[in-house]
Amino acid sequence: MLYFCVVQTKPIITVKDLQKSYGDFHAVKGISFEVYNGEIFGLLGPNGAGKTTTLEIIETLREKSGGTVIVDGLNIDSQANDIKQIIGVQLQAAGYYPSLSLTELLELFAGLYNMPINTLEMLSRVGLEDKAKAKFKELSGGQKQRFSIATTLINKPKIIFLDEPTTGLDPQARRNLWDLIREVKAMGTTVVITTHYMDEAEQLCDRVAVMEGGKVIALDTPDTLIDNLVASGFERKKEVKKANLEDVFLSLTGQEWRDE
């Protein structure tokens, strides 16, 4: 039992006193947290809280102003390029060469990671095998996000970063993406995800950090955070029903995800 706990809580990302300033503006004000190996870790917060900045610093895309970041034992200051090889990054609203097919785009990323892949197998992992010849611009929102995730998996990364992957998707597409993310986790990959949908964080994340104004103001499992709030005497204004409107919508329109 003890052994199990040690494995569970082995940190794969350690962030200490991370700061980021743009001139006088302090986007990230000395935050610290750890992401454990194999978990789905959520960075929550309203727009402008510093989620994306934090994520992009860990992804080696942005210089930090202060603090230390260690990813799988590699220091971001001196080993950024080694870090790039073991992570997969999905950006908010990233585009690709618009006139290339999905197969050609995967070949491009295979080359960028120096990692030969079976493109069809990769596409079938994200349920896009029949879109092999389609162009990225021809995909629906959900398909685009799943393709983006496929590009993050090419180098068999230890960690993948997903920046608001479900923003703008319909309920079916969101659920479908959650399933994909859970599958990725089941393969042993650590997932760091930002979102401002709390239901998503509750369903998906093992632990969440809540950010506000460049600071982490809470960090725990969703369950514990809820329990803490309830223990403080919080009560919902309205009696919680056994289902919500989304459940109604899904039961009316069907759970299964469809091609838009």
Binding site: G95, E104, L105, E107, L112, Y113, N155
Partner: protein, 364 residues
Amino acid sequence: MKYSQFKAMMAIAKASFRSITRSPSAVVFTLVFPLIFITVFGFLKGGSVTLNVALSSHSDQQNSVYIGLISNPAFSVHHDMDSVEQRTLLLKGKLDAIIDIQKVQLDSSSTYDVNLYTTMASAEKGIIVRSMLEHLIDKSNLSAAKIISPMATLKQQELKGRTYSTIDFILPGQLGFSLLSTGVFGTAFVFFNLRQTLVIKRFFATPIRKPFIVMGEALARMVFAMLGAAFLIALGHYAFGFTLINGLATVAEMLVLSAMGLIVFMGFGFVVSGIAKSESTIPPLANIITLPQFLLSGTFFGVENFPTWLQPICKMLPLTYLNDAMRKVAFEGASLLDLGPQLAVITLWGVIIYAIAVKVFRWE
């Protein structure tokens, strides 16, 4: 296994090349426009002079001057106009001369008066008509005087030279223009869009280093432009008789020049992509760079045809030197070593423009 930046660069080059070949604007600028100009100018007749002359309606046609006139291929003799029409066309310069030959009956023999009307509207050709006509009259006079051994005869020896046709001038200019537009427009749009759509940011998240991203993109454009250049040269040579003085060696030298030119022009593209605030500001900025060179760099007519006050500007532009170098290589058989001044100016432009590009280029 060690990570290979080269492999990653080649992956970008391949993807970018595919992307370029599917981009209508790249194909239009690199191939279609130059092709249209080359075809139009390739079919223009160059070299031989045609003299349009009309014979006045009551001219005598039973004399050796007239016979000499119609048997000379340089003359196109029109009989089918009345005198008013002849006069109108002459004044517009559509006719180069009107010739009127009248028989004058003397007692026992007859002579001829040859009247020539020329116009300021076609002054140069009028002079040619006059001298050719004089020659015909002299010949007739000699034979009428039964002079078999004239005092002086002209013996001309033509040294076999190369025929310089329109295509020899137009093709290098079009090639230069094609390189200029693909270099400036293509590079500016691609890097602006890669930045705008976060493609380049996604690349940053992979282990490839920044210079290799740029080199991969540049390589793709280079290969595309070189294939385009080779195609234009081949078409010009086989379809329109473009002179390649040393055959394949000349083609190779032209491609080296093309590559040099393209690198400089891509530098302009990097600058434009760096200073453009939005996608719609790219075309005007790129046009500011390409249009003056298109007009002033000897693409369609030699720089020496411009007024003297404009020539110093012409002689500052990089395309002028590329066009000049291309023509020297293709037609005169100059080797790259003979092109020191041209290559020096092109290189200098390269140094200047990349110094600016490094300053203004933005990654995000």
